[in-house]
């Protein structure tokens, strides 16, 4: 076979192989690709505790994915977590919508659930969702339960 052609084919094979390894490393590493929804508007929400919420987690309303978490940062003024939410532009939510951190399945992925309020005004880009409910931390829950039991025992 022609030398040039062999070189070309081998080069193609080597490039393909390395790009496959790169694809695995990038996809598995945290160099996240842009898999965001096509047309979105950004809102923010503050939580006392986000539990195991991760960037790129889903935002759901009534169980339907309506957006994605685009960023999480710690606010050292309020000592709260600030979560950036990109919501699909097709869906509008009232201003008094509340956000909750929920878990899919018993031990599954955490996501944000939006419960719409009744305000006639709608959320716009850059608005903040004020009513939030933190993630349920299992240790706290068990702690509360044990304290409750202990208090019950003491009252008797």
């Amino acid at each position: 076979m022609n030398r040039k052609l062999v070189d070309l084919l081998v080069g193609l094979f080597v490039v393909l192989g390395f790009s496959a390894l790169l694809f695995l490393a990038v996809r598995a590493g945290n160099m996240s690709g842009s898999l965001s929804l096509s047309d979105t508007y950004e809102t923010r929400a503050r939580f006392d505790n986000i539990g195991g919420l991760k960037p790129r987690a889903a935002v759901r309303s009534a169980g339907v994915v309506v957006g994605r978490v685009t960023g999480i940062r710690f606010d050292d003024q309020t000592y709260q977590a600030e979560v950036m939410l990109a919501l699909d532009r097709r869906y509008q939510f009232p201003k008094d919508t509340s956000a909750k951190i929920l878990t899919s399945g018993l031990l599954g992925e955490q996501y944000i659930g939006l419960t719409p309020g009744g305000d006639p005004q709608m959320l716009a880009a850059g608005d903040r969702i004020t009513m939030t409910q933190s993630a349920v931390v299992l240790e706290n829950l068990i702690g509360q339960f044990l304290y409750g039991k202990a208090a019950e025992g003491g009252a008797k």
Binding site: F13, A20, A28, S104, E109
Partner: protein
């Protein structure tokens, strides 16, 4: 009494001598393999022969394995309500285990046998002897470039296999079954470490590359120079290489697990 014992004893001594000869041959191949890069043409031709021709079987099997992992993983994970972990399951099983092992088995079947047959036929056709007569070292000229080419191809093919498998899992899990795409990728990125998991997978595939290349070339070089001998050698390559791959895989996995 002595004659009754001597047969198994001789067999044992022959085996031990074979192991020793194999080790010597392996070291010689490694040394001459590095020297083979002084003539990169030979290595490139062999990469074309060993790698490019194995590409189609590796890509298609990777995709199909990915499909199956997507379906089977979904079936199991659904019981625990954690379908979103499908991406993690598919990727971890591919990069840690299935990618290197299945690629090595296919590589032994596709490229290993053809290397054995080629070298065996060269021997049967007295080309190897002819080279020796012309004071050309057949191990340096014929075997070393093939050895190096197989070493280079194995990790690349394993990477391609795993990447195709992830795509296959994505197609079945997200496009067909309807697992959330963001969770599929984000759980995968959250759970797969690129050194611990992908790096170890690459190390495995390099070790398997050594195994397949060595077994194929050694068996081919030592084949009986007859048509039956070459046929027998080709079969031996598949059997020995597959067993060696699976055995080494257990050892490597045990070592890698114990480190973390």
């Amino acid at each position: 009494m002595i004659s009754a014992l001597s047969a198994p004893l001789r067999w044992l001594i022959d085996r031990l001598a074979l192991v020793g000869y194999g080790t010597r041959f392996f070291l010689r191949l490694c040394g001459l393999g590095i020297a083979a890069f002084r003539r990169p043409r030979l290595v490139i031709d062999q990469i074309h022969f060993v790698g490019n021709y194995s590409l189609s079987i590796i890509l298609v099997s990777g995709l199909l394995i990915g499909f199956v992992l997507g379906l089977q993983g979904y079936y199991t994970l659904r019981r625990y309500g954690s379908e979103e972990a499908l991406g993690l399951l598919v990727t971890l099983s591919l990069v840690r285990e299935l990618g290197p092992v299945v690629t090595a088995l296919l590589f032994a079947g596709r490229a290993g046998t053809s290397l054995t047959a080629e070298v065996g036929l060269m021997k049967a056709g007295e080309q190897i002897d002819a080279m020796e007569m012309m004071a050309v070292d057949p191990v340096a000229r014929v075997l070393a470039p093939r050895f190096m080419a197989a070493l280079i191809c194995m990790p690349l093919l394993a990477g391609l296999f795993s990447a195709m498998g992830v795509l296959g899992g994505y197609i079945v899990g997200v496009e067909m079954i309807g697992v959330d795409a963001g969770a599929f990728w984000s759980q995968m990125q959250g759970g797969v470490d690129w050194i611990e998991d992908i790096g170890n997978g690459v190390v495995k595939s390099i070790v398997f590359g050594f195994t397949v290349a060595f077994v194929a070339l050694f068996v081919g070089y030592e084949a009986e120079p007859t048509p039956e001998g070459v046929a027998h050698a080709t079969t031996t390559t598949v059997v020995v290489a597959s067993l060696a791959i699976l055995g080494l895989d257990f050892i490597l996995t045990a070592l890698m697990f114990s480190s973390n």
